[in-house]
Symmetry: C4
Subunit: 126 residues, 4 copies
């Protein structure tokens, strides 16, 4: 059997949830997404830590991705231990117990026409 | 001779084909593309597996890229074993028998002005 | 303890601060950002060198990122030893004394609707 | 002395020069750019090969990047051995005699509001 693709540690240095939106909900709500892929045959337990510019990191936020599934996680939806403030710079680190792949996407709909960005996250060493 | 550039295993964690489009077809049809480059002197046989949030993976979708050619594959066009549903989160894994390079691009034309995103895919180990 | 995620040397080959903007300041000022994440338990001292098309590199610009913090640095704000001219091609190299993660983002608001781009920077070897 | 950052072999799997433009020239001409950074103390001689979907590769296109310089190369401007056709899928491979960093950017101004994309290119092994 092939081993699952990915790494266990990832970072996204850019994080920013725009403060307002334009267009039909929920597709055009301004959002910041971490797309997580787990190709392993076991559930991935992912711990997310949020870093800020001017205060201590917050976390872990605990997320599970079932075996052989993808989860497109909106940072807007993270609430425990606390929501991520809008219109604020942050960054995020992902630590998983099985290899995963993480990709970062933002839909910015503050203006009439939406803008998109994406990048593969940074994969750390094991 | 130089060996072909790339890896044999790739993943794109972000996948989403917008549900509608705006503008002249086919250039402005909302689409999600995997650009595959095969610099080898032999045909690449690529197997694509599609991962979903809430059901088992589907595949393999079989694609060939001739020697010394690029193929810009629209996920919209994958039909065997089944089409990828619109407006649905997915992810994809590429397994090739020769080294290839994979890059991910989306044109989103749901609104009057199109938006674009791209990233190099994640290259797994051999 | 886990070691901090990242590398000490990074490069962004694309750099360009648009010459004008459109929309409310400061969010919609056209800008080019390097998002720096420092997960280490010590302050990161980062030296940035700016490369141009037709003259010698300028720098270092010295930036600090406190322990366990992220800093979203606008190239527009770099002034010492000199500001980066607008509407001019450049590239940048980051050298840090502790591992960091660097991601590149641009908001281009020259037209009525803003456009966004991002990519993880290139991480060099130690 | 630090060795120059980068690799000698790079690939961009996505290539496409839009067939038309909208907005003031030359900034808003639809274009596809390879940003090349050479931090070495010697000139980089770069050979670019263009791959197509349905015919043999074309090249090399020969480009030099002076020592300690960046060059933002528009694929639109490549003419020798032949121009790259518009509205056509292609991919590109870069081979340099010294380490460089390559980043891919497109400005698509086919519609009234421009769209942007970028990604670091894929760095092959030495």
């Amino acid at each position: 059997m092939r081993s699952p693709i990915g790494k266990r540690h990832w970072a996204i240095a850019e994080g920013y949830i725009p403060g307002w939106s334009h267009g039909p909900e929920p597709q055009f709500t301004s959002h910041e997404t971490a797309c997580i892929l787990n190709t392993a045959d076991q559930e991935a337990h992912v711990e997310i830590t949020i870093y800020y510019a001017d205060r201590e990191p917050v976390g872990p936020y605990r997320v599970t991705v079932p075996a052989r599934r993808t989860r497109h996680l909106r940072f807007n939806d993270l609430n425990d231990p606390e929501p991520i403030p809008r219109d604020t710079d942050y960054a995020s680190v992902f630590d998983s117990d099985v290899p995963i792949v993480v990709q970062h996407t933002r839909l910015d709909s503050r203006q009439a026409e939406n803008a998109l960005l994406t990048t593969i996250a940074y994969a750390g060493n094991e």
